[in-house]
Amino acid sequence: MSDNVKPSENTPVKGNSLMRDAIRRLGKNKLAVAGGIAIVFFILVALLAPWIAPYRYDAIDLPNQYLSPSWHHPFGTDSLGRDMFSRVIWGSRVSLAIGFVTAAVALAIGVTWGAVAGFAGGKLDQAMMRFADVLYGLPFMFFVILLMVIFGRSFYMLFIGIGAVSWMTLARITRGQIMSLKNNEYVEAARSLGASPFRIVFRHLLPNALGPIIVYVTLTIPGIMLDEAFLSFLGLGVQAPMTSWGLLASDGKNAITSYPWLILFPALTLSVVLFSLNFLGEGLRDALDPSSRNRS
């Protein structure tokens, strides 16, 4: 307590941001750090795919189809003799981009939507949430196909399309959080000091609601990657011969008894990413809560 008491008065007061604090606390959580490193690793792999993949993703080598994993083809080859290792590396580009960008889209829409609805309450809340319910009710495929038909089929449409159907749960979570938080006295205190509604929602309430939101987002990303596989399977997403983890896994599952490595490696990669995201997400949640146990 009494060590290094600053000489008062003229010492400039230094403010630390919540973010810097959170990062410091995150650094102490080994699982989260491991998760973070894994995510960074996969992102690097995706960015450097053309240089590190031993073969091109579309290099067909028919005589060598269905090779089991070997030194030459660490993940084996598929029905067209393409190197699975290279395809998994190339597939990371699509999967990660879809996962992160779409999650960001869903996050932006969902959190804003839910926060506004939850804070405003009353009729506006009813209207906004019923709109979300209607979107919930629409079949996901129908909605995405509709978007694709109207706006044309492109990679970016895929981001927006999946994002546009994934934000409702986030909106509900955020709304619930905001509703339970908005009657706290510190909100009234902030009001009594002249804070605007915008400021109250985004400065005072959202940080308090961040925990569940972050965890949910880390759970959404793998789901989105699988959604993409489904769309691609229908020919609405990634075009062959380009591929993604989800697509590789869904191709591989048909041959699971005869050539198990076709599903094993994409699924394994997907799982590692999923776990990493979860660890990172939980670590972030704890780190962002100033009163959590890990604090020191």
């Binding site: 002249g194 400065r203 005072h204």
Partner: protein, 329 residues
């Protein structure tokens, strides 16, 4: 002290829509606060004392609450009819509020520094660094040791008394002219209460601000207030200087409140005199004195007509058909 009026509230009426009907939380309340004056507002839970403050501050939760009529003139402007934007500029600058529970009135996710300086930066547009220095200085003045270290803490790292000091610092920082303190000591230990009250008294005298002290604790009022308003069922029962109120209560309700205080002079073993019954829920009250069912002096007229708040020659006001001094005007 009898100088300019800072706030003039007249005919304030605030209603809440409830499942059982319209609840009139504040029913025609009028009062003035002079510059530098400390006004105590006393009453039981649900007497409308907090609702009065929130109405004037424009903080009545709406829905279900609504300020139906009345005016609150501050600086020539009616707070009840100001555009929300203008009112927000006044709040946190000219008028601030100290809240009851320091454990829940600070945002657990923001540092003390952020919560203290946010509105300064916002309202006065001063640089963040300067705001921080002012905040540290104010923390020092509200008796927080090592303020330059404490200001970087989160609320949960401080004790209840410390947090209440932070709340007070928060309310005083913009150098307001009027501060509402809603039960500022209720959530604190008795020893801390005394310190906080002393602190409020000192800072108030030093800054020359007007203070509205809402409490159900007559002891708090006795120590701090210049004038006291006793509220019952959303109405003012009595309004008198603190010394007069304690020496010569006019309203039977005030008398009852005073009698229910423990008196160290009295022999031990004496039971405290309570007021029988409970206050009415102010939903669709009949035209009668709301205190009549519990009043030892109640007569027929009390049950037939609501007494008006009469101003006496000495400036005190009382709403009773049979005030305790026999009605000498």
């Amino acid at each position: 002290m009898e100088n300019e009026t800072v706030l003039r509230v007249s005919g304030l009426r605030t209603e809440f829509r409830t499942d059982d009907g319209i609840l009139t939380a504040v029913n025609g309340v009028s009062f003035d606060i002079a510059a530098g004056e400390t006004l105590g507002i006393v009453g039981e839970s649900g007497s409308g004392k907090s609702a009065t403050c929130l109405s004037v501050m424009g903080l009545v939760p709406s829905p279900p609450g609504r300020v139906v009529s009345g005016s609150a003139i501050f600086d020539g402007r009616d707070l009840l009819n100001l555009p929300p934007e203008e009112l927000r500029q006044l709040r946190g600058k000219e008028i601030t509020m100290i809240f009851q529970d320091p454990m829940t009135s600070l945002n657990p996710f923001l540092r003390i520094s952020t919560q203290l300086t946010e509105h300064l930066v916002l309202h006065e547009r001063i640089p963040k660094k300067e705001a921080l220095e002012r905040a540290v200085e104010m923390l020092r003045r509200v008796g927080i040791p090592e303020p330059e270290k404490k200001i970087l803490r989160y609320p949960h790292e401080l004790s209840g008394g410390m947090r209440q000091r932070v709340m007070i610092a928060m309310a005083l920082l913009p150098r307001p002219r009027l501060v509402f303190a809603d039960e500022p000591t209720t959530a604190l230990d008795v020893s801390v209460q005394a310190q906080i009250l002393e602190l409020l008294r000192e800072r108030k005298a030093e800054m020359g601000l007007s203070l509205v002290l809402v409490t159900h604790n007559l002891g708090v009022v006795a120590g701090l207030a210049d004038r006291v308003i006793v509220m019952y069922a959303g109405m003012i029962a009595e309004d008198a200087p603190v010394s007069l109120l304690f020496a010569r209560p006019l309203h039977p309700y005030t008398r009852g409140l005073l009698d229910s205080l423990p008196d160290p002079e009295k022999p031990r073993g004496n039971e405290l005199a309570g007021i029988a019954g409970t206050p009415p829920v102010p939903i669709a009250l009949p035209d009668a004195c709301p205190f009549a069912p519990r009043c030892f002096r109640a007569a027929d007229v009390c049950r037939a007509k609501t007494p008006q708040l009469e101003t006496r020659h000495d400036g005190t006001r009382v709403a009773c058909w049979f005030p305790l001094d026999g009605g000498a005007v």
